[in-house]
Amino acid sequence: MNAGLLRRLFLRSLFIQAAWNYRGMQHLGLLWAQLPALPEDKEARRAAMARGAEFYNAHPYLCGYLLGAAARLEPQGEGESLSRLKKAALSPLGAVGDRLFWAGLRPLAGAVGVLGLALLAASPSASTQGLYWAVALGALAVLAFNIVHLQWRWRALRDGFDLGLGVAQSIRGLVNHQGLAHTGAALCVLAGLMAPLLGAGAADAGGLPGVLMFLLLLAAGWQLPARRWSLPALLGLLGLLWLLP
């Protein structure tokens, strides 16, 4: 019974952002995901749905903690405690998820795929077989990323369902997760490996001036502030430089 319910909740949790809006953000997705676990009694269900429609926005991969807890607590009539847990857990789930997945694992998987393509682009005698290998490396990176986040999503849902209010401890444990410390270092190593490969390609394309220009732009990229406008602005500047006689 529980396994079937958890499977349904898990599949629905994949749609957590499907009705994302600027007023309640992911609240409608979370509400829809928890529908199979709502109490039978009409009044209790109405109250549970109202709680489910409260504001919610956290990392989509970590919604399982609260979804599982809701499936455990709502039928037990502990909706008010769930509501308090939800409010307290929003910020940690968002912050940890963003750091772990968006700023850590996702760029790491992307950088592994880019490394394969950089090897291919830098090699003057690249063959179709090389392209197959590069695509396979990219596919492997995407597959590894998916295994990690799907397994995490399932474990979060089970933790929430098994522990109920006690899931707060699991969420607290996430904040000190070791993975957060290592992804940045791994990404630095990958960026370091890409630099000579791409530099060699730039040397082939532009000779010594090409390499110097490559290093100059690498340094400019390092100094570029991480703002939305900064890259388009620099690209525009680069375009203007290219248009000079």
Binding site: L14, F15, A19, W20, N21, R23, L28, L31, L35, R46, M49, A50, G52, A53, N57, Y61, D98, W102, A103, R106, P107, G110, A111, G113, V114, L117, A118, L120, A122, T128, L131, Y132, A134, G138, A139, N146, G184, C188, V189, A191, G192, L193, A195, L197, G199, G201, A202, G206, P209, G210, F214, L217, L218, G221, W222, L224, A226, L238, L241, W242
Partner: protein
């Protein structure tokens, strides 16, 4: 390529990008070389995948932020150019693809923005009515409508973008040729310049609070490989 198939691919990439799952199936480093291979434009696929992935690797969809969307931009560009039937394996279509795809990276998120506003103004009230009535089925129906409308808007936007790229490509060919072979080539071909800029930004992002220590960690990986690359014939 058949327009229906192109739209289906675009729709899958769009739905994967935020409404469903977020399995990263549309990551440029994987999907664009694969599509390039299938469409007979391997060089375009590789370069588009490499540049778009590296340039947007540190753009993060945190909170309600809408960062540049390289997945949709790359897919629209590649499918549009393949329908325009350009000569495949030269630098001209590569530069043309980059010229088209880079601005599209910043335009594509408008589709997500529009959909999220529609969700707030059109579908959220329906959900709230269902909540007020305690009607789980009505809530399920509202989700079905939301999802169907999201897919329809994604299809319409993809059709418009692909057809626009297809019709604009022949007009942009002279600029692509100029960039590839003419005096605009400069000291360093444009794709390499883009890669250098993006790599510097990625390195900085990865160093984060680790600062100089992580800069040296990256250099520790870079220098032996650079020596190896230099020594190789």
């Amino acid at each position: 390529m058949n327009l229906a198939l192109a739209l289906l691919i675009s729709l899958l990439v769009y739905l994967d990008s935020w409404p469903v799952g977020q399995f990263m199936l549309g990551r440029p480093m994987f999907l664009l070389p694969l599509l390039g291979l299938l469409l007979g434009m391997p060089l375009v696929g590789v370069w588009l995948g490499l540049v778009l992935e590296l340039i947007t690797l540190r753009s993060l969809p945190m909170g309600s932020a809408l960062p540049p969307d390289p997945a949709l931009a790359g897919v629209w560009t590649l499918l549009g150019l393949s329908r325009a039937a350009l000569a495949a394996d030269t630098w001209t279509p590569v530069l043309l693809a980059l010229l088209v795809a880079l601005p599209l990276c910043w335009v594509a998120p408008w589709l997500t923005l529009a959909q999220r506003r529609i969700n707030g103004h059109v579908w959220r009230p329906r959900f709230l009515l269902a909540v007020e009535a305690g009607d789980a089925r009505a809530c399920g129906r509202a989700m079905g409508f939301t999802f169907a409308q999201t897919a329809l808007l994604g299809l319409a936007a993809s059709a418009a973008a692909i057809l626009l790229v297809e019709s604009a490509a022949p007009l942009l060919i002279p600029l692509g040729e100029q960039l590839a072979h003419g005096k605009l080539g400069g000291w360093l071909p444009l794709p390499w310049a883009l890669l250098a800029l993006s790599l510097g930004g990625l390195w900085r992002h990865a160093a984060g609070r680790g600062g100089n220590q992580r800069l040296w960690l990256g250099l520790g990986a870079a220098l032996p490989l650079a020596w190896l690359v230099w020594r190789l014939p």
